[in-house]
Symmetry: C2
Subunit: 323 residues, 2 copies
């Protein structure tokens, strides 16, 4: 069965015929020339009941998440958010649900200073499709294909907490209340790394957000840039919950293939370690060096003994499910 | 039950906090200041299987229509199309369906010179949410609320053909093959009035496209501008199919309340009749004067004897169905 990415490539990726299109289909956002060196960054993300969230999900948290995942796409382009619109499909005009959903959406919009400027409401299966606009320089790097051999590989925040939230919801894992709360918050109200994305843009080569799982999103970077990578598993930033999962014998696959982290994954030459550390500090977001890019294709996950670990998982694909 | 428009107003219409937002939620498109007096026009429209089209609809025609209805929103703002993105929800990655859908979408995109710049594919109920960007002057009229008493009221093309297409599909009406073909084409592959919208923008007061039916869309203009109107039913531009419908005793309601025409409805002072006629000629689109705006609220449909007709229908509302 073809993957989501094959489908997009095959049917919707065409050479852009318009001189204003600086970057078309296939990255976190498209870039459209605006004025001088400024480009408009344009992105869409859809959340579907039963696929991206449970139909009974708390509507206020869902409102926050819907905007968060779209802001994360802009963060992955180093773009400043400008405005967004909402296409909402609802089975029925449930006043209470709408009031709470709008409260979450507007609260998030106010926090990130990004106004809702339009939309469309239809009656249908519960689904939210957001379209977001941002602004950034047209030039510079930050695309998936911009990674270079020899680059350091960095990850913001911690990895796998949203996946553990899903394990908890599905009753496949138990954890004390504070860890449970942490993992569910990471799953249901992720924090888009908007300030960090803009701050690091001038210093990075590749920049992407981890929405489909570290393994798969790193795979996109390697495929697009024609590079390989070695990741040091012992260097991966784990939360208290993640460390507990590992101590209890939980597998790496769950953490590496789980989506919904919305952390930034980036590559940069070794000479930029100091400036990146400073910028991450200024943004108040941990940024951890987790590996290195290389010319030779492939992706090795090295364990504590420096031996490559065989991983079964390759991340989430919307048409294949978790592989 | 609250209508779609009540819902949008109540939950999503907030005063825009950002100086760049020239026009926010509630019109055909939002306007975002770009450079000088140029504004970005931003709009979204969703098509849902079972609501906006039959699940078995021809995918190529559906690809054309999805883009057409979004181009029509830009036409209704007098904006030049720049680019669009697609959020696609599909039950399964059906190669044949996708190939044909993409063919229709790309053909339409090429005709209107508007590149596809991004998108998102998810597995779910068949739904298409498009997001389109255009450009127009920030100033000037063209909003729903810009109509003034004494304005002439104009409609492009013909009215009700898409509604008759639906009657034909539902087996509630029969018509000879050429008329059937015409009505189904109007329903399934509407022609957005992109050139006409841009041409008339400097000369109109209110400008809107008829997606929800002439009665309802005119109602939006009257409500937003605090005006009333008299429409001369004998002046309404009918196609051969529409005339046949009337001759066979078909009601006005079907023609006036039926959506999906995607014609432009506009108002302008009487002094602009000559220039509007010239522009419509240049665009090759019929533009018919169908009535007049007035200060006194209300909407009268006058029959051949000049008597107001009582109409049962008020157009299509996504949460109430055809009223």
């Amino acid at each position: 069965m073809p993957s989501e990415f094959d489908l997009i490539r095959r049917h919707f990726q065409r050479p852009a015929p318009d001189g204003r299109v600086v970057l078309g289909v296939g990255d976190d956002a498209a870039l459209l020339a605006e004025r001088g060196d400024r480009c408009l960054a344009v992105s869409s993300d859809t959340l579907l009941a039963g696929v991206h969230f449970l139909p009974e999900a708390d509507p206020e948290r869902l409102g926050r998440k819907a905007l968060a995942v779209n802001l994360s796409d802009l963060a992955a382009m180093g773009a400043r958010p400008l405005a967004f619109s909402l296409a909402l499909s609802l089975p029925a005009p449930d006043e209470d649900w709408l009031t709470r959903f709008a409260a979450g959406l507007h609260a998030m919009a106010a926090e990130y200073d990004v106004p809702l400027i339009g939309g469309d409401t239809v009656r249908g299966p519960l689904a939210l499709s957001l379209h977001i606009l941002g602004e950034r320089p047209c030039g510079g790097a930050g695309r998936r294909g911009d990674a270079q051999p020899g680059d350091d590989l960095y990850l913001s925040g911690t990895v796998g907490d949203a996946a553990l939230g899903l394990e908890l919801l599905r009753g496949r894992w138990q954890a004390p209340a504070p860890l449970r709360r942490h993992c569910l918050d990471r799953l249901e109200t992720p924090t888009p790394r908007v300030a960090l994305g803009q701050a690091v843009l001038p210093w990075v080569h590749a920049l992407i957000d981890c929405s489909d799982g570290l393994a798969q999103d790193l795979g996109h970077v390697l495929a697009a840039s024609g590079t390989g990578a070695t990741v040091d598993l012992t260097a991966l930033p784990l939360s208290t919950a993640g460390r507990r999962w590992r101590v209890e014998g939980g597998d790496w696959e769950t953490l590496l293939a789980g989506g919904d982290d919305y952390e930034l994954l980036l590559t940069a030459p070794p000479g930029r370690r100091a400036v990146l550390a400073e910028l991450a500090d200024a943004c108040g977001v941990p940024l951890t060096r987790i590996g290195r890019l290389r010319a030779e294709p492939g992706l090795d996950w090295l364990d504590a003994d420096g031996r490559p670990l065989a991983l079964a998982a390759a991340g989430f694909d919307h048409f294949r499910g978790a592989a």
